[in-house]
Every structure is written in C-alpha cells, then in structure tokens.
C-alpha cells in the first residue's frame, strides 16, 4: 500500500503570509453595484464599465474640493471578510489611476487618443482611502456641503487648461481645527510632452501610482481634532508613467495624514471624479483605477509596538 504523504514536517502551503491578507490589486468597477455613490449635485451621468474601463459623463459644474463632485466608496475587507482594523496594525495602501483615453497626436501638441477626457478639460479623477465616508458632502450647497472626511488621502490625475500635460493631484485633510478640518491639496505637473517625448513613444504621462503606510505614532500629542497617539501616514510615494507604460520618476511627499479621528476600525477606498472649474463643456471621462490594501502584521513587532516605531 502506498501512501501519498511524504514523511517529515507538514509543509506549509502558500507563501507563509498571513492568510487573512488581501494581497492583490483590486480593479475598480464603479458600475458593478458594490460601490456607494455620493453625488449631491448629480453632475455625473451615464456611468458604465466596458472591458474594465469606467466611463462617465461629467457636466460643467465646478466641484473644486475634489470630494464634492461624484464619489464612489466601498469598505475594503480582509480576505476573511474582516474589517481593516488599523488601531494597532500598520497598513500598506497603494493605488493606481490611469486615463487610457487621453493622449496626444504625434506632434505632441494636439488632443489625441480617444479624447476621454479631452486635454485641457479641467477635470480630475482621484483614488483614495478614508475612514469616514459618511462625511463626504451630503448636499451641493448649504448645510452639509462643506463636510469633509476627517481622515483621508487621495491621489489622481487632473486636466487643467494646459494642452500638453496633466497634473498629479494629492488631497488630504491634515487640519486640526473646525468640525471636519479643511481639504489640503498638492499638485505637480507631469511631463510636458514635446516632440522628443513623442519620438520615444511617450505621448502622454497619464498613469499614476502611489503608496503610503498607516503606522502607529505613539508620541503624537492631541489637538482639537487629533487624538493623542493617533495613527499616521508620514510619507507618500508617487510615480508617474507614460501612456506606453514606461516609468518616469518616483517622488516622495511629506503627507502627515492622521488616521483614527473618527474611527480606527474600518477603511474605505474611494474614487472621486469631477471638474475643478466651471468653464468649458460637458465631457466624457474614461478611467481605470486599482487599489491594493494590505495589513502588514499583527502587532508582533520585536519593538513591542507596531510598525517598529520604538525600542
């Protein structure tokens, strides 16, 4: 009689990582019915997804706070269905935003691609994470219109009036005053497409990746909005790629986003689209977004604390 088991220790299956890890990129389909939409002024219509690419029509309303346009959000879960409780566990967060329908003609100066969105059309697409989606604006004006998630970070692409380049936009809330704080932004130009870029098959810098980490910051003092010892994301790394996938640069940004001002027991992913200016015409935007959220360990750091933050 033969036996199938090889003598010796039982070999561990998998890669030895925590089984309760959500450990792959998740492609976002805002039309699959699992995302909650928040669009208080109803400026986004014709929401669809074809072949993995989301498509929406955006009217000419200006929603310059980035989270007061149309936002879709969904709680992210561990592989076992549990929540991302980051109160004593560091979390790795990554995102990717791509406008596959925006590009340039071969002379590097004219609108090209599928024109979705057109160049210089003053629109944005932000992918981010938050703890308190109930604080997205509940109204287009008046009470509720100034609401803002207390803990959030988002990174994405923005089209301005420049016909040759897009911008990278970071949004966050590092305020320590008021009920919700105030939105903070940081934008930087992506590559200015020239004939030299086009000859290298780089017609647009229209792909963005980012990565940040939520860690415990035990030394933080409390403030008006901020709890003492709150979790925090100190730095954010971002990288842009051209339309053919070639990487351009890797950059860092001093994020300083606190986490846990509303709760430490849940994390949500969100996608926000809209316009940062009321000028121009309605447009169609195609966007492709992925996120990757990973609980890094279970509080067994040799430092005695999470995130190796102390002796």
């Amino acid at each position: 009689m033969s036996r199938s088991r090889v003598p010796g220790n039982i070999r561990r299956q998998g890669l030895g990582r925590d089984e309760a890890v959500l450990d792959d990129w998740v492609r976002i389909n805002v039309a699959d019915g699992t995302w909650t939409k928040n669009d208080p002024d109803n400026h986004v219509t014709n929401i669809s997804n074809t072949g993995g690419i989301n498509s929406v029509d955006i009217d000419d309303t200006s929603n310059s706070n980035y989270i007061n346009g149309c936002v879709w959000y969904k709680e992210i879960r561990l592989a076992d269905g549990g929540p991302f409780d980051f109160s004593d566990r560091p979390v790795d967060l990554r995102g990717y935003v791509h406008w596959p329908g925006t590009g340039w003609d071969d002379d590097g100066s004219q609108s090209g691609g599928d024109d979705k969105p057109p160049v210089a059309s003053k629109c944005y697409c932000i992918l981010g994470f938050t703890t308190d989606p109930e604080n997205f604006p509940s109204a287009a004006s008046g009470t509720g219109s100034a609401d803002l998630p207390r803990d959030m970070v988002g990174v994405g692409l923005e089209s301005t009036t420049n016909a040759n380049r897009l911008k990278r936009q970071i949004i966050r809330n590092v305020s320590n005053s008021g009920t919700y704080g105030a939105i903070n932004t940081n934008s930087a130009w992506l590559d200015d497409i020239s004939s030299g870029d086009v000859s290298s098959n780089h017609k647009c810098s229209n792909r963005l990746e980012f990565q940040t980490e939520i860690v415990k910051a035990e030394h933080l003092a409390s403030g008006n909005l901020d709890p003492a010892g709150a979790c925090r994301s100190y730095y954010l790394m971002w990288s842009d790629r051209w339309d053919n996938g070639d990487r351009r640069n890797i950059n860092q940004y001093a994020l300083d986003q606190r986490w846990g001002r509303t709760r430490t027991t849940k994390l949500y992913a969100f996608v926000a689209v809209g316009r940062n200016d009321s000028g121009g015409s309605a447009l169609t935007m195609e966007f492709d977004c992925y996120y990757h959220a990973r609980m890094l360990h279970k509080g067994t750091s040799p430092s005695g604390k999470t995130a190796l933050s102390g002796p």
Binding site: S175, N184, N186, N251, Q252
Partner: protein, 64 residues
C-alpha cells in the same frame, strides 16, 4: 578650483515644483531629493561663488 557638482557622479539630485494649498495658504514648494558628497557641500558652505554654483545645479535638475 570651483566645484562642479554636475560632473561628479557622487552627487545625485532630483527636484520638482508643486503647488501646495493648506491652512497655511497657497504657495509653491520645491521638493529636492539630493545626495551631495560632503567635500562638495563643505566647499559650497565656505565659498559664496561655490554656493551659487550648487544652487544653480539644484535648479538645473528640476523636472517640472
């Protein structure tokens, strides 16, 4: 002999400009990620002319 940080491969630099908007107001930031050989940096500290060369090298590497 003036310093020439751009021709010394020990020196590495990347810089870009961004627009910041926060409770401190709206303003521009220059973000610099830089490694400079200590003797080069010391030379720049000791000489106004070399300090200017160093700043010009920082400026020349901005990618925005």
């Amino acid at each position: 002999m003036p310093i020439d940080p751009g021709s010394d491969s020990r020196n590495r630099l990347r810089a870009h400009t961004s627009e910041e908007s926060s409770e401190l107001g709206s303003y521009e930031l220059v973000t610099i990620e830089c490694d400079i050989a200590k003797d080069t940096f010391d030379a720049a500290l000791a000489s106004a002319d070399d300090a200017l060369v160093l700043v010009q090298w920082l400026e020349s590497k901005r990618t925005d």
